[in-house]
Symmetry: C2
Subunit: 641 residues, 2 copies
């Protein structure tokens, strides 16, 4: 087996050398060397996101619609279809790792972030739950060791704490996390330290952390999304959010959707690679950044809550979940009790209690049960619907009497995954757009500083774009281009595109354009959401008119234009005042169970009461889906006002 | 800061590239890149073990007695005193990583190994303890999932186990280790698996492991020595040893003795480097090899026992132990309860209970308390002494009424550390030696196959060599050379050596010789042991004649010749039939507490009853030591028969 060397030069300055066999794909060689190259379509040449530039040596790479001749001459290739024949040097541009890179710690000075934090911390009051108890701070003064009293630090601490609490030494233990910081803390303070003490259900005490200062015990709430991971650090004694941030899910190099991740987990070492991509590459650096931003230590994180879809939670815990995608779609677990920090990740206290939001089905996970808790649809007499639009789409319908949930394989369109110019709702994303009927020129709003140029389109911008293309007759009900003009371009591959921003107008070398494949992907995604809504209502033997509230949650972003979303036939045509966008409810629910034991109990009870509907086993679903794959729908009356 | 690149070529074929600043020592650059180069003397140019060969580029390196001119011309240097000035390529010969390399799994076909295993497993009968209970194997049959019954694997298992045991589901939990193997195990067996179930003290059940086969739960006993790590894998239900092996302690590149390790732990990232050197580089590959040798999985290891000296246990658990070496010599802990596998190492079940043999002093650790248990000196009415001769020397004296323990800083001489031709008691080590009075030629026995050539001298061989050099008058009572001949050589550094084997006679490029510095190191080491024995007896107000049994344990090896050891004034001159060599009692004690709960309870009680004597605070110790630094002693009457 001949070996070739690939020298990767990353946008952040790092160099990574991969050694692999002749005939390997460039993308595979990158995956195995942990080079972050996005591959949402998992190497099917459809998304065009794995564009990299070969600057020395050559690869075998077919022509394709994502790379034009000029780009090809400069060495640009799609990594997924490039085959290695000899040693090469490759530049990986920042766009090629847009999904997985970019840990960001949010600044509390930012008013938008401040509002988001206030919305999240408000959940406890709305739920009427009180802060978790059982974590106590206590100052302990120890005798100073001498040659005649050479007791060990731990034994000295136990002795002092037993003296001051009256609890016998046998009933107090010191966690390994506390022990690892004890020697320094004692000697920074002349042997008077502040201990974080957890009272167990049997009255025994565990010392979780010690510090030289009077510092609050920390909580960590995590939402593990298929595309984005978000986290909050809280003061457990007040519920206040001390730091928050997010990062791309490093697993995206194995595919944008959960199915491709599960397939990767069946390969040799795959489960371990996926776990590393989420834990080692993503969560741990994110948590480290959060902790450092407030000058604290990871060992002070003594309670952790995690919400995520069923696949993400399997991959996070290192449990084989491939049976999720094989009939009869069985996960290894729905809920898991008794987890401790040391079993899952290094950057928290090893004895931290870790709570997982329970799942109710293979494709309705803890992110959705957490969302049901946060949206409170299970507490209301009137009928409501929670629609979570992230990489997947999940729908929960019901009221205080019953709750039904299903998932639709919307695909990653709403987070930009299988849209050639798609991206997450971060700086440079077009989040809103209008098209002038006469000139067909667009007018858009870009996330970021006022002078930020567009780099792509996020979910809300995509809905607007399709809605406007349809409204202006540029595309027809099947998504086919009907008009011609400067902004419309046909290429040699038979593909037609609408140019939102030329390469000159855009920030970067690549234009922002929607082609007919993108439009088709979007129509399938929105059809999948709408047909799921129709199907779940049909099972309840109800009509859309019963819905009083629809809560939109998830990565699609707050800029979603309901008028457009209804106009393209994605969301039900109910009175617009019934709609609310309620943000990342998975993170909000995770925050709630972190901060209040009552919230965790309520969540477990909720999960037991949600009926999971497997759409793929519903005969009517496919008919509904086909009918919904038009703009807005084959039955246009559903969307007439 | 100018950077230089060092390309290391290791004997096993690995290439490691280090990038560091001009002016760094070659040894430091190796340490930080995890290149295994032994440095028992911690870079003081005394041991001569860090010999490597610069094959491209140049370093700044002083002439020294370990490298002769011919070797120097070939590029040989001592890494510790070589300063980097530019890019270089370095060959690291196998001898330079003799201590840390070499994971070996012992074959049960080997009669010597079989005898050692029998000796260890015999300990339970000798102690009169019964095998640990609470680990039960139970076959569980689950219903097979269908679309109509898509319960998760874990919930299905709980349901089935509750049905067959009558214990309610709420009182059963599935450990994360079991969950990680559950999906495969269920589908390999048509949903009938064998679960390893632990019964908790409150009657709750924890499923620790599941398997498709009826396989015994595994136990792991570990002895973490400063130089060598040994481990046993057992069948917890029978106590049988299924596999055993050893590896060099990777920390040796930071120094042979505990003091240099503790100093390293004070440097930035040092504690983490030391923990990795023992856990990641040494224990985990060793355990993986043992588990694979019997075709089992690491997750089946559900109980672990560890013995080691106080420093090793701090470094293994990742707890800062530097205060051990600073007055008043205080460890962070003596004993630690409630540890689980996930907190310490990856290659065991995350929920495995981990027992640590408790320490009694800063320099009398769990290895010695385990040895007291195994030697049973605390159960006898007559006075006995346990002398553990490893990298350090520890002495316990007493009977069933009292036990006293102390440690002497013997230095690493008995495991070859600060002896230029010293090595561990493995293949190629001279373990016994005689010298012809007339010709001064040696006659020696080498460990290994019959044709094995000598590579160095281990502890027992060293005692013989010094004893014979003294008996034949080649050296005098102060260790100074007195005779001349072919085997005696003076070099330009003023150093005199006795050539045991010339380069031609030896296996490798380097001769085996003892120089006057080696002899001096040995005399200090043996003086330190003997003066410790005298001091501890003096504290008990007793005489050597009261000692009925002396048990010799530790890495010095079974080949120790008591006659020579008494002859050089290292061991007390009591009737020779009072002596026994009892092997690695730290590992035997670790095996005992792994296999029997009663043994752990006895060990904890023993540890509470041992009085620790800090020799450095005993005024008489220094006088005793000075008197003992002669062959055999300034008071020769102590050794007349």
């Amino acid at each position: 087996m001949d070996a070739v060397r690939v020298n990767f030069a990353l946008a952040d300055g790092r160099k990574i050398v991969a050694s692999t066999a002749v005939g390997t794909s460039l993308l595979d060689s990158a995956k195995h060397a942990n080079v972050p190259i996005d591959a949402p379509c998992a190497g099917n040449m459809t998304c065009g996101k794995c564009r990299v530039r070969v600057v020395r040596g050559e690869v075998e790479s077919p022509k394709n619609r994502h790379i034009n001749d000029a780009e090809s001459a400069q060495g640009w290739v799609l990594a997924c279809v490039s085959t290695l024949r000899g040693d090469i040097e490759v530049e990986v541009p920042v766009e090629a790792s847009a999904y997985q890179s970019g840990i960001r710690v949010s600044s509390s000075d930012n008013p938008r972030e401040e509002a988001a934090r206030t919305a999240i911390t408000g959940i406890l009051a709305r739920l009427g739950h009180t802060l978790v108890e059982g974590y106590e701070l206590r100052e302990v003064s120890l005798s100073v060791p001498t040659l005649d009293d050479a007791q060990a630090d731990q034994e000295r601490l136990l002795h002092a704490l037993a003296g001051s609490t009256g609890v016998s030494e046998e009933r107090i233990s010191v966690g390994i996390g506390a022990l690892r910081v004890l020697p320094h803390a004692l000697r920074e303070t002349d042997f008077t330290v502040v201990a974080t003490i957890q009272t167990e259900s049997n009255g025994n005490l565990t010392i979780l952390d010690v510090s030289s200062k009077n510092e609050a015990p920390l909580g960590l709430a995590i939402d593990i999304g298929t595309t984005t991971v978000s986290a909050l650090l809280t003061d457990l004694s007040t519920g206040q959010i001390l730091a928050s941030g997010s990062a791309g899910n490093g697993q995206i190099r194995f595919g944008a959707d959960v199915i491709n991740r599960l397939i990767e987990s069946t390969r040799a070492g795959g489960l371990e690679r996926l776990r590393e991509a989420i834990v080692t590459e993503c969560l741990q650096p994110l948590v480290r950044s959060l902790v450092e931003s407030i000058n604290r230590r990871a060992s002070s994180i003594v309670r952790v809550a995690v919400a995520g879809n069923t696949t993400m939670i399997h991959l996070f815990t290192g449990v084989y979940g491939n049976h999720l995608r094989l009939e009869p779609y069985v996960p290894a677990f729905f809920s898991l009790e008794g987890l401790r920090g040391s079993e899952l990740m290094a950057e928290v206290n090893p004895d931290a209690r870790v709570l997982l939001a329970p799942a109710v089905g293979s494709y309705v996970g803890g992110d959705i049960t957490a969302g049901v808790l946060a949206s409170m649809i299970g507490r209301s007499d009137s009928f409501s619907m929670l629609i979570d639009l992230g990489t997947n789409g999940e729908i929960v319908f019901g009221n205080s009497d019953f709750l039904m949930a299903c998932a639709c394989s919307a695909g990653p369109a709403f987070e930009g995954g299988d849209i050639s110019c798609g991206m997450r709702a971060t700086d440079g994303a077009i989040e809103a757009l209008e098209i002038d009927d006469a000139t067909m020129n667009p007018c858009y709003k870009v996330i970021g500083e006022p002078d930020q140029k567009p780099r792509g389109v996020c979910g809300s911008g995509l809905i607007d774009a399709i809605g406007e293309l349809y409204r202006t007759g540029i595309i027809d009900a099947r998504g086919r281009f009907q008009r011609e003009g400067d902004r419309i371009r046909k290429d040699e591959w038979g593909s037609t595109s609408y140019i939102i921003a030329t390469a000159e107008e855009a920030d970067g070398a690549k234009e922002v354009a929607l082609n007919d494949a993108d439009i088709e992907n979007f129509i399938r995604a929105k059809g999948s959401v709408f047909s799921a809504i129709r199907t779940i209502l049909a099972i309840a033997d109800m009509d859309m008119s019963v819905i009083e509230h629809i809560y939109i949650a998830g990565g699609i972003g707050s800029a979603i234009d309901i008028e457009h979303a209804v106009g393209v036939g994605m969301l039900p045509n109910i009175p617009r005042e019934g709609y609310s966008y309620i943000g990342n409810t998975s993170l909000a629910g995770s925050y709630a169970i972190l901060s209040a034991s009552e919230a965790y109990d309520e969540l477990c009870a909720l999960a037991n009461n949600i009926t999971y509907v497997e759409l793929s086993s519903m005969p009517s679903y496919m008919d509904e889906f086909v009918a919904a794959c038009f703009l807005p729908h084959t039955d246009a009356s559903l969307f007439s006002r």
